[in-house]
Amino acid sequence: MTTDHDNPTHECISAWIASSLRGDQSAYQALFEAFAPGLYRLCYGILLNVDDAQDVSQEAFVYAFKNLKRYDPAKSAFKTWLYTIAICRCRNLYRRQRPPLLDIASMWGNPLAAPHSETPEAVYAQRDARKRLEQALCRLKPALREAVVLRYGHGLTYREIAEVMECPPKTAESRLRLAHDALRTLLEPAGIGLLEELLSY
């Protein structure tokens, strides 16, 4: 796999799409190489599971390639279109896998003590900063996690996030605000050391 397609231009993408529609396999591969790493990261950030992320990324690509005729460049960028497909697939997966959880303890106003693996001491003890970040993301609601991953993992603007998440821009903004605030609390025990640990990898 070559990685010379990291930042393809619009012209490049349009040319690849046109070639793909004519049945050119190398154009399909070029599209895959350009977008696969980002798409996989997106899926992993949302699902936090290697196998699921790989399956969903593959499904999203297959769907996109089979429905390439439907893509309209006037409506959205190819990346946004691809991410929308992937997000839908991710949602389908975690809807299938995870039944809705009810926090009975909080319903009764009697919060239970955190299990040992989640106590602040254990979090401090964990050296792996990536794991800490994953744990924090895992505790976010899926919609908030999607917004955070799209913003911080992929640098999308609020308008693009709204487009990918198929919601109004104001909703995207408020989801980001809630996620940002929640992560401030969740990442607090890790402190500033999180960044240094991550950079050391």
């Binding site: 796999m1 190489e33 950030g45 605000r177």
Partner: protein
């Protein structure tokens, strides 16, 4: 309307992300200069923002082997011919369905209506028995042969009469 801490906190994330209009940005900035609590919160959020900007792009970097595996899977799936239902099968199915419906049509017309509940009793033609005691008495007294059954005279009345309970 007075710009309060609540308003400022609602806009802090967008302020950090530089997604506010210049006017709103100035308003948040002015409030942060004046309010120590909001400024503390702003600094915390800014730190989290920096951490996430650095750490999240590193999360879930795919390896070459993973990408190769994915590409092979995609190639297999996109090169496989699409499974489509042949048109002639659909046509035959529609024809058979229409034929069955055509055959079932006369049968459905002749069917007696089925009701879920029993019907209420319908009023019947009432009869009035006239001279019944006389007729019976005459019949019992003057019966010439065995097997002769005197019949009372019956008068049919078209109007339903609830008080008369005798039914034919």
């Amino acid at each position: 309307m007075r710009y309060t801490c609540r308003h400022c906190r609602a806009e802090l994330t967008a302020y950090i992300h530089r997604q506010l209009s210049p006017q709103r940005r100035q308003r948040v900035g002015r409030h942060l200069n004046a309010c120590a609590n909001c400024y503390t919160l702003y600094r915390q959020l800014r730190d989290v923002d920096r951490e996430l900007q650095t750490s999240l792009p590193l999360l879930g970097q795919p390896g070459r082997r993973q990408l190769s595996g994915m590409w092979q899977g995609i190639q297999t799936q996109i090169s496989a011919p699409r499974r489509t239902v042949p048109v002639f099968r659909v046509r035959y199915g529609v024809a058979v369905m229409l034929a069955v419906m055509a055959l079932a049509l006369p049968w459905s017309f002749n069917r007696a209506p089925a009701y879920a509940l029993p019907l209420p009793p319908t009023p019947v033609h009432t009869v009035r028995i006239t001279n019944a005691p006389d007729a019976i008495a005459m019949a019992t007294a003057d019966a010439p042969t065995v097997g002769f059954v005197p019949t009372p005279t019956l008068e049919a009345n078209d109007a339903p009469d609830v008080s008369a309970t005798e039914t034919p």
